[in-house]
């Protein structure tokens, strides 16, 4: 009997399925092993931690991409006409409900190559703020300061602005505000805040990463603002806390007071 179909369907037997599953499993294991080794190395690489982790998403996408290619070409032995058919079916699938998953995968590829953020960065995406622990095929994992693991779908990159506090560097700027009474000696307070910052065990200062101490007057109080870099973004809150604590200790020794409660009479 003559074959009337336009494209002959590939024969998928048990062996083909087992081979494909095995190859996917090997790819998955490879990624796990590489991830483990790279994370192990990066955590010991100090300031180069983020640089080492940077290659992880690229490796993941490359390995998964090559795995799919290998299965289609060498296991299923599809020809170009069959690939076109598969493309059509995939398009239909996307239309019927896989579009979010597809958008996530494309989002993942965009994140990998465009690098709006990288593994190890501190980012703010939507309502979430934290350190990027993984950029996966479907989602980006963020560890929040409260140690919650948030999985943000990769497609958010197309719909929401993402703020990266450090953009691939280990250090990041931390803004520390202290409020003092208007009658207190602001010059002395600025000197103390400056020395609290520069003597902190977490501070990082260089020509490109300078520190600044600013003063602003408000009706009933003054705001001192220190802008400086923490040497490792993981110490962001420790840095802020240490500077604040030491500065206030010195403020009270020097008679610099917190703002008093004022009532504005109408």
């Amino acid at each position: 009997m003559a074959d009337n179909s336009i494209v002959s369907m590939p024969v998928i037997d048990t062996g083909t399925i087992i081979s494909s599953i095995l190859i996917i499993l090997i790819a998955y294991l490879c990624i796990r092993v590489i991830t483990f080794i790279l994370v192990f190395i990066s955590e010991r690489a100090g300031q180069y931690r983020i640089t080492v982790k940077m290659v992880l998403p690229l490796l993941k996408f490359s390995i998964y991409g090559y795995t799919i290619y290998y299965i289609l070409i060498y296991i299923l032995k599809w020809e170009s006409s069959q690939l076109i058919l598969f493309g059509g079916l995939l398009g239909a699938g996307i239309g019927f409900g896989l579009k979010d998953l597809f958008a996530d995968v494309i989002g993942g590829i965009v994140i990998t190559f465009e690098k709006p953020y990288q593994v190890g960065d501190k980012i703010k995406m939507g309502d979430y703020y934290g350190e990027v622990s993984d950029i996966g095929i479907r989602a980006t994992k963020i560890v929040t300061p409260d140690d919650n693991l948030v999985s943000a779908p990769n497609y958010l990159i197309f719909t929401q602005a993402v703020a990266s506090a450090n953009a691939g560097a280990s250090e990041m700027m931390v803004v520390i505000d202290l409020f003092i009474d208007s009658d207190s000696d602001a010059v002395l307070a600025m000197k103390i805040l400056k020395e609290s910052v520069v003597t902190s065990k977490y501070v990082y200062i260089s020509r490109k990463r300078p520190f600044t101490i600013l003063l602003k007057d408000f009706p009933f109080y003054r705001r001192l603002r220190a802008k400086s870099y923490v040497n490792d973004l993981r110490y962001e809150f420790e840095f802020e806390s240490e500077v604040t604590r030491r500065a206030w200790k010195e403020f009270s020794r020097n008679g610099i007071e917190a703002p008093k409660v004022n009532i504005l009479e109408s």
Binding site: R44, G46, Q47, T199, Y204, I205, N231, D232, Y235, E250
Partner: protein, 343 residues
């Protein structure tokens, strides 16, 4: 001082250019151009030797001060007394403390060195200098900055052997060293938190000294000598002071063999507070326990931290002062750089 060149002693053989630069700064000063000098190096790297040499060269014209512990009071800095117009000051890192209110003495000192009538030649610990240059921009007060370079293997060899007569030291064939392998398989412990287990990952380490010996195929004695100084250079990381100490500890007078030069590896395990205290010690090279406690403040249990640092072989405690151990210097610097405590 004129243009008469004084021959550099062989122990300062790696610093010829630096000494020439200082001579130029002195000559410029005498012709009316005052450019204060800062000689900067890591601990043990030869700052004092250079200052001794400068003092010897212009003995009649200089006054010399040395700080050996942290200066806490402005009155302790008395530079106005001498009529000499060139002042040498050793170890200026002792003029500040890394704490709130710890920069006042240094600020006062920087005002003093702004006096155009006096040339100040100062020495600084490299890590204190880098810190202070970022925080206070002290570099602008010392237009001539001389960073002491690392010695090459040849310079280390020449510097050390200058203290002995020709053929006084016997470089012996080393049976233990000959038995060594070019590639050694080692095991690196890796703790996996989720399994609560420690596994040992195999890795290989190349024995460069032995490989070099095999590749060179020179005469036995020459090869041994080269290997010894190559090893000393690697252990000391080109630091002449450390190299000398390693040499002295390896020498079984009058013989020395490659296997005697021990490459102590330090697997440093410290928490952040301990690392910070170690950084304070490195920045001073030597600091009293009391000063350390004063800088660190009440939040640190300095006594316990000193015990931990000492137990890991990173510092030694002598006369209630903490001193960075020369053998550990290289590992300490690498460790603190990783933590970004040293910039």
């Amino acid at each position: 001082m004129g243009n008469d060149k004084i021959e550099t002693p062989s122990e300062l053989i790696g610093f010829r250019e630096e000494i020439a630069n200082i001579q130029t700064a002195i000559a410029d000063f005498e012709s009316g151009r005052n450019l204060n000098v800062a000689i900067i190096s890591e601990p043990y790297a030869g700052r004092t030797a250079i200052m001794n040499e400068i003092e010897k060269m212009i003995l009649q014209k200089v006054t010399r001060f040395s700080f050996s512990s942290i200066v806490k009071n402005k009155d302790e800095i008395i530079l106005s007394g001498p009529s000499k117009r060139i002042v040498l000051i050793d170890d200026c890192q002792f003029l500040y403390m890394r704490k709130i209110g710890g920069f006042d003495v240094l600020e006062y000192f920087l005002n003093l060195v702004s006096n155009p009538a006096i040339l100040f030649i100062t020495t600084w610990n490299l890590y204190s200098w880098k810190y202070l240059d970022e925080v206070l921009n002290i570099g602008k007060f010392f237009p001539v900055q001389i960073n002491l370079p690392k010695f090459t293997t040849y310079q280390i060899k020449e510097s050390i052997l200058s203290g002995y007569k020709k053929d006084e030291i016997i470089f012996v064939r080393d049976v233990e060293f000959e038995k060594e392998k070019i590639i050694n398989f080692m095991k690196y412990p890796v703790s996996i938190k989720s399994w609560k287990k420690t596994i040992e990952l195999p890795y290989f380490k190349i024995n460069y000294d032995f490989l070099k010996l095999r590749l060179l195929k020179k005469e036995e004695i020459i090869a041994s000598e080269d290997i010894i100084f190559g090893k000393i250079h690697r252990v000391s990381n080109g630091n002449p002071g450390v190299a000398k100490i390693v040499w002295q500890r390896s020498l079984e007078y009058p013989t020395i063999k490659p296997s005697n030069v021990k490459d102590e590896s330090f697997n440093i395990e410290l928490d952040y507070n301990e690392a910070f205290i170690l950084n304070l010690i490195l920045s001073m090279k030597s600091i009293t326990n009391d000063d350390l406690s004063e800088i660190a403040g009440p939040d640190y249990q300095v006594g316990k931290i000193i015990f931990r640092l000492s137990k890991q072989g990173l510092i030694s405690v002598e006369d209630a002062s903490c001193i960075i151990r020369p053998e550990a210097l290289k590992s300490v610097i690498e460790f603190l750089k990783k933590l970004r405590l040293v910039w």
